[in-house]
Subunit: 523 residues, 2 copies
């Protein structure tokens, strides 16, 4: 594993994120240092970093440099955005940083910033066509993602700190100044959408600490049952109601709202207004919160070194990354997936009348994803590992998956061995019919799991006969597969209940396996 420290000096905060990664394979965040620097404080029209913010920024970077030396990371990537970019003494800041800390700060242009965020979005969501909104402290970027590539982007000085300082007046802010901010945002965004998103609304992906914090507050307000920000969908209605509340409160009162980050209390209302205007201009009714942003965008060239730094398949990468977190990359998992898919296909394709289920390719994909991670809970304990695995599968972001999909994968993990099916308290995140899908897929996964009971990939093929209320699964083995056939027989009841058919598992008809199957039946 290599280690990289990514430093990002924004207008509100300076952050260092330390990632451990293996190029092309996996990564995880190891640490994070965050300092509120408010670089643009008092910058005003003069466009000068004032001495106090200047010193705060320098002090944060000294700390980061100390961290990098101590942890001996392999690479350091350090960037600065809007405040340093806009400041007339930005170059002096960069020079001072280099002199005092040895850190070579690269100042990103507005377009570079937008491109970098768009790369993160393309690798963190399954949506190839989207608009990416990144609200920082100093600036706001909008990007058009087309076929997962950055197609166009722009940047405006409408970040949360800057908007608060330059437009809003009063605490709570006066209605007139709020209107002025909304009008400024509208006049920036509407023409951009007119030029770049002409064919009607696209999904919107949102980045930046302001949006994440708004989502956090909304999750607390609505008692959202998952503790995950990435992939959370914040609706325009919820945002509107939240914005109204934030605007009605003083900064001091806002700080007490559950979920709100105190050091954003003064700037979050401005950010909320700007995001609301972007949503209005886009015509979409929700924004998908990204846990990834500029920093991950800077990571991807290292994680995916070739070409355009795009992951081939975001969901597949997330699942393999999850497996690797728990050192659970095994031939067993791959084999269970192959067996589960074989069963899925055989039961779907008999013919339109006799097919045992009517599930689509999305369901098939979820089955495959769950099959690969079904045993991750063993990292916690063998006993009840299906329950541990369920918690682990909803315990971290799974980029590329919606929360609904992630919950379905987690439920399949929970059901892969035994026990009754229920929604684990997460039913509110599922759509109609999803629990029936989960039940059928769980039944398939469970049979597949036990068909590799010995974890030795002995079952080489499955013949599936469907007819007259009975599914017969004939397992052809390479070698002695008595463990597998016996175990799958015992665990086929869930599949039978899900399909409302009898399910029989028998050993294949070569001479030896017949003998063994008979032996089992009498045992």
């Amino acid at each position: 594993m290599r280690r990289i420290a990514i430093i990002d000096v924004g207008s509100n905060t300076a952050k260092l994120v330390d990632f451990a990664y293996e190029p092309g394979r996996s990564y995880r965040q190891v640490d994070e240092l965050r300092t509120v620097v408010r670089l643009s404080q008092g910058m005003g029209d003069a466009g000068l970093l004032r001495s106090e913010p200047f010193e705060r920024g320098l002090s944060a970077l000294r700390t980061f440099a100390s961290y990098c030396r101590a942890t001996e990371v392999d690479d350091v990537v350090a960037t600065a955005t809007s405040a340093v970019r806009a400041a007339s003494n930005g170059e002096r800041f960069v020079a001072a940083v280099l002199e005092h800390t040895g850190i070579d700060l690269r100042v990103l242009s507005g377009e570079e910033e937008a491109r970098t965020g768009a790369l993160a979005a393309a690798n963190a969501f399954s949506t190839g066509e989207a608009v990416v909104l990144d609200v920082g402290g100093g600036s706001v970027q909008l990007s058009r993602l087309a076929h997962r590539r950055f197609a166009a982007g722009a940047s405006w000085p409408l970040g949360a700190v800057r908007s608060t300082e330059t437009v809003l007046r009063g605490d709570p802010p006066k209605a007139k100044s709020v209107k002025a901010l909304a009008a400024a945002a509208k006049s920036a965004f509407v023409p951009w959408f007119d030029s770049h998103v002409a064919d009607g609304p696209l999904p919107m992906i949102g980045m930046g600490g302001t949006l994440r914090n708004l989502a956090n507050v909304e999750q607390a307000r609505s008692s959202y049952p998952l503790d995950l920000l990435h992939g959370y969908r914040l609706s325009r209605d919820a945002l509107a109601s939240l914005t109204e509340e934030l605007l009605s409160l003083s900064a001091a009162k806002r700080a007490d709202l559950p979920g709100l980050n105190r050091d954003r209390a003064d700037i979050i209302a401005a950010g909320a207004v700007v995001i609301g205007e972007a949503l209005a201009a886009s015509g979409t009714d929700a924004i998908d919160v990204s846990g990834q942003g500029l920093r991950e965008g800077l990571l991807y060239p290292y994680l995916v070194p070739g070409g355009e730094h795009l992951l081939d398949d975001v969901k597949a990468f997330s699942i393999r990354n999850l497996m690797r977190q728990y050192h659970d990359h095994s031939a067993h998992n791959e084999h269970v997936r192959a067996l589960a898919w074989r069963l899925f296909d055989a039961l779907a394709s008999v013919d339109s009348l006799a097919s045992a289920h009517a599930l689509d390719s999305d369901a098939r994909a979820l089955l495959g994803h769950a099959a690969l991670v079904h045993d991750i809970g063993m990292a916690v304990d063998y006993y009840r590992h299906e329950h541990h695995g369920f918690r682990l599968a909803i315990g971290r972001a799974l980029p590329g998956f919606t929360h609904r999909e992630q919950v379905m994968v987690a439920l399949l993990v929970r059901n892969h061995r035994k026990g009754q099916i229920d929604d684990g308290g997460l039913g509110s995140l599922l759509a109609d019919g999803d629990m029936e899908t989960v039940k059928v897929l769980s039944g398939l996964l469970r049979v597949a799991e036990y068909l590799d009971r010995g974890k030795a990939q002995r079952i080489t093929s499955l013949l599936v006969h469907v007819g007259d209320g009975v599914v017969q699964i004939e397992a052809q083995a390479d070698g002695d597969a008595r463990v597998e056939v016996h175990a799958a027989k015992l665990r086929a009841d869930l599949l039978a209940a899900a399909l409302t058919m009898d399910v029989e598992v028998v050993a294949g008809t070569s001479e030896t396996t017949t003998h063994r199957a008979t032996g089992e039946a009498s045992g």
Copy 2:
């Protein structure tokens, strides 16, 4: 990591447990196969394994052999206990197993069985002086543990299957036959306790599937807040009430009790009666449930190869084993422990009047254990890793710890970074004053954690001054420790609240560090 399959052919069940282990360092269970064989069924006074149980046993071992071949374990250890030992055709069974499966089954004597269980108990609990009760399907063993060594032991044919078959009559069992069973158990156990536990009651450690299943039912009845069997304390009163209920129900009705294992429904009542008599004979008021037993006893010669196969320190081993599960064995953890202990000692030892806390060596030990595992939750995700770590720390047995101690360690893990202190819904497992202890220890751990913020062990010593409502912690560093001093300052508020004193963290007084501390203060 090596792999070992441990096979144990009991009177009720045949089990294979597959462990991965690194001698002297760590182990974890990888898989488990379990078949109900009821070997002693119909054995009666003739003492003959009848043909159906004989074949069931053989079939189970064929399956186990297939598993061992498939998974390519390094070693196979296979034993048989009471039913095979007692059967007049036991040797023929052993020969048939060898011929048909290649497995060389070793028949344990009653004393060997007791010794092996006692070894497991000595390595799974912190109690050096205890009585170990192992209730199997065929036999029951009592052992006296003295200085963690097997001192004496005996075996009686009073196992749950055998007692049910030979003594109990009727379903539900008739009162007269229950009395006969109780009398038989009493006349076996009382003389043994008189001879071997003369100096008054000792803690009792209980093993075997029957006891674990009784504990499981009692946990369900009482809504026990932890999902852990090992270390659960089943009181004599709870057992008496549970036994009464089990005896009043038919086997079919018992099978519906929450937590009860259906394939034990017919034999569990007999087991409960026998355990109750052992408790009565011992004079103790509770039995500590062991998740380990014969199979782990057979593992220890491999896991702890030298001498008597005793772990030096059961708790320390559990903690290190937990760290290794999550690949979190780092110098940072050791350093945080050293810093936390240094603070603990400094604040305790000033003098009897000025000491800032009055915690004892048990609290100090818990602080040390928590310090070593405080970051295990990072295996799940960096964000909220303290919460993930809390779940992981209560997610598996921690041999050597009581549940109360394990909960305290888990709460310290949860509190090591930030957030308010509460009991995590587990307050019913704590004693009076424990939350105050947790608060002080959490405060110490948090300061220690941030004193190694850069994870580079830069703080080399701490000078602690206590006086007049103020604790001053002066950190001497090797190199640039601005990250550490700054971070510890910011996170000292919990310790201050716990001690109701001000807590100041300053850099040490060498010339460079003074300069840095001043730099920080103005930053």
